[in-house]
Symmetry: C2
Subunit: 428 residues, 2 copies
């Protein structure tokens, strides 16, 4: 592709490249849409990333796009997030065919920024544990991860350049790693959750999938109204700390090796890299996150439990039953640990410091019966810090493996700058 | 009323008294319901507390009550909270007649605890600034306060013993004070917000109205699953600190005098009372709360703004316009101040300590064009600490004035115990 030429395969363009081509008049939003629709038509039987997609809807919307930084880019919206013109089934038979009367706040924001809603991407049941039918585009015998299964797979498979995700445990970072794309979970509360079906209010975080850190930042920034994310510049972090916790025992050799490769790359370019262990208390935070997730999920889904309990998966009911007798004070203790360590971690991370760890234990597990283990994301979700998964390499099965960079709360632009800097040095 | 007699006017009973009468077989839930319906029929033209009430619905539900601590007590549900069988209009023409497909989590929880949904209580537009038509039951020429206008008025007027409210600035504490009832805003997150229309996600707090502190605690505990709130015992606070900030200059002489009367009552019964000024930074927190409220409200209502902007009140649009150009970093600074002072206030309050301040500047203002000033609640909502408004006296117009007690985060049972202890000594 040259500056003056036409675009040969628009669906392959990253979000900012497509945006630039649209701005330069080399690509029309309608062409990009059709290229993505063609890709979906060719691949949907294999990947199954969409819970709802009616080409007539984006085709109708493309002529009435708002002017904005997203310039008509097609986006996938995770199917727990309300759309006024499409059903939102939350991965549950309880909401099958349910069309909410409104767009969620993030959908209205992305439309106002010129984004084009392509359709609704497959999610696990209420963005929790029970898998959906989406397959890993790199090998359909493997899970794409979850809960944002369809969003990660659709972006990885060039079906859309951008998609929304949500993370309550590891639902953005893990599927990004498994599918070989970038997953960004900004600081908790950066993108408004109104109109997105909640599971655990003190953990639920809106995030995004893209094929580069800059593309992810563009999209998150557009939804959040965070100007500094829209066109960030690369900048080296001041320091990188390798994090081999919590539950580092579950990491695979290949995932650990890629973390070390990334650390060397930082060091080779003059960044100070440390490898200081975290306080042991971080191991306990894992249990706090799990308790909060299930305790709050059980409360948030009170109506679904009482009115449609038979339509909840056995797995989810089992999780809820496990916490039914947990006293409130135990939940409170977990919330207090969360608050304490949110405050402490702010002091443990200098401005411009980045923590480097695994995004997932290793490659995507085989089969579609489970979405893999969120163990390397739970604590960061609990602590509300921004995280980004970046593709780093491949494992023994040839499937992608990512690394994870973590920054201090509300310092998302610094984290993005470091990710951009890293991407440039890592190579394509 | 004696232990063996019948109940002469069930609508006048407080929640626990009615519950006890029901448990003792002296009152049937259906009788209580009819007594409340009669009261509503007699008073609704004057008070106008309900945005939706169809007697056929609670009459049908009373025969299928769940077994639980609420024992069939009729409750009002603020009309920003979803009910599967009743419309939820959010005080806005945008949602007129809108029937959500589900109960909110708190509604499902209260029904599961044996509560009976009477109807939907009037709210200001999206629980924000623009008043509704509800009148103060003590003098219909005066506002009942807001945003939980109908809930406060209905409980004060003996139309229901309990009602839900929400507070983003001062929407529980202020109307409770104006209407002469108890308003409880528990620690942020105690009652799940899922299914309640959000305005400012880092401030929005579910609360309750009742006619005594114990009744309020029963109701909040039932919705939260917090066992210690269901049947709390009175206990003196270890220390009381009089708080004459932030913006204490706006307090009326009568409201300040009632705070001092309450302080003397604590001191007369042996409680240490201090009057140490707060750090000056608390004054700045007021601006942080206001910015977060409007900034987040503008984002949360993105769909309503973009799709139905003409149906938003001029006042609300004006508020949103004011923050449209505010950079994200300014919002971030307010969130960081919130986090910092949440952590600091925890250290400023010993366990068992209660802060005592005004619940509102004074009596309810005349007229229905505004709901009064939430100035004495904004900072406590920002800091997520539990607050309770207790009726304390009357002002020069003969209208009620309350005081406000504040406790440390997650220490709600201690705060309730102190409120119960205070109520016993204050007299009826």
């Amino acid at each position: 592709m040259t500056d003056t030429g036409t675009v040969s395969d628009p669906a392959r363009l990253g979000a900012r490249a497509a945006r630039d081509a649209i701005r330069a008049g080399r690509l029309a939003p309608g062409e990009l849409l059709e290229a993505c629709l063609s890709r979906i038509a060719a691949r949907d039987d294999t990947v199954r990333a969409w819970h709802f997609l009616d080409p007539a809807l984006p085709r109708a919307a493309v002529s009435g796009l708002a002017a904005g930084v997203l310039e008509g880019l097609p986006v996938g919206v995770k199917d727990i997030t309300a759309t006024a013109d499409m059903p939102t089934a939350c991965g549950s038979p309880i909401y099958r065919g349910h069309v909410p009367g409104r767009d969620a706040a993030c959908v209205a924001a992305l439309r106002a920024a010129g984004g084009l809603v392509m359709g609704k991407t497959a999610t696990t049941e209420f963005a929790a544990y029970t898998p959906t039918e989406t397959r890993n585009p790199h090998d359909p015998a493997h899970t794409p991860g979850g809960s944002s299964s369809g969003s990660a797979a659709a972006v990885a498979d060039f079906q859309v350049p951008l998609a929304t995700g949500t993370q309550t445990a590891g639902s953005v970072i893990r599927p990004a790693s498994f599918c070989g794309v970038v997953g960004l979970k900004p600081t908790f509360g950066t993108v408004d959750y109104a109109g997105t079906h909640g599971f655990a209010a003190s953990l639920d975080t809106l995030g995004v999938f893209a094929r580069s850190a800059g593309d992810a930042a563009l999209f998150a920034g557009a939804m959040a109204g965070w100007e500094a994310l829209t066109d960030p510049a690369p900048e080296a972090p001041r320091r990188v700390r390798i994090i081999r916790a919590p539950h580092w025992g579950q990491v695979s050799a290949e995932s650990e090796a890629l973390v070390e490769t990334a650390a060397r790359l930082f060091a080779d370019h003059g960044v100070t890299v440390t490898d200081t262990p975290l306080p042991a208390a971080f191991e306990d935070l894992l249990a706090a996150q799990e308790l909060i997730q299930i305790y709050e999920g059980r409360r948030a889904l009170a109506w679904e439990r009482h009115t449609h309990g038979d339509k909840l998966s056995e797995g989810l009911r089992g999780h809820f039953d496990r916490v039914a007798a947990v006293p409130f004070t135990e939940y409170r203790a977990a919330r207090q640990a969360q608050a304490l360590w949110q405050q402490r971690i702010d002091g443990m991370m200098a401005p411009g410091e980045v923590w480097l760890t695994a995004a997932a234990p290793g490659e995507a597990p085989e089969g579609l019966g489970a979405t893999g283990d969120p163990v390397f994301s739970r604590v960061w979700t609990l602590l509300h810090v921004p995280c980004i998964a970046l593709p780093m390499g491949r494992g023994p099965k040839g499937l992608p493996i990512g690394i994870q960079l973590i920054g201090p709360r509300w310092r998302d632009p610094d984290l993005i700058a470091a990710a951009l800097w890293f991407e440039e040095r890592r190579g394509a």
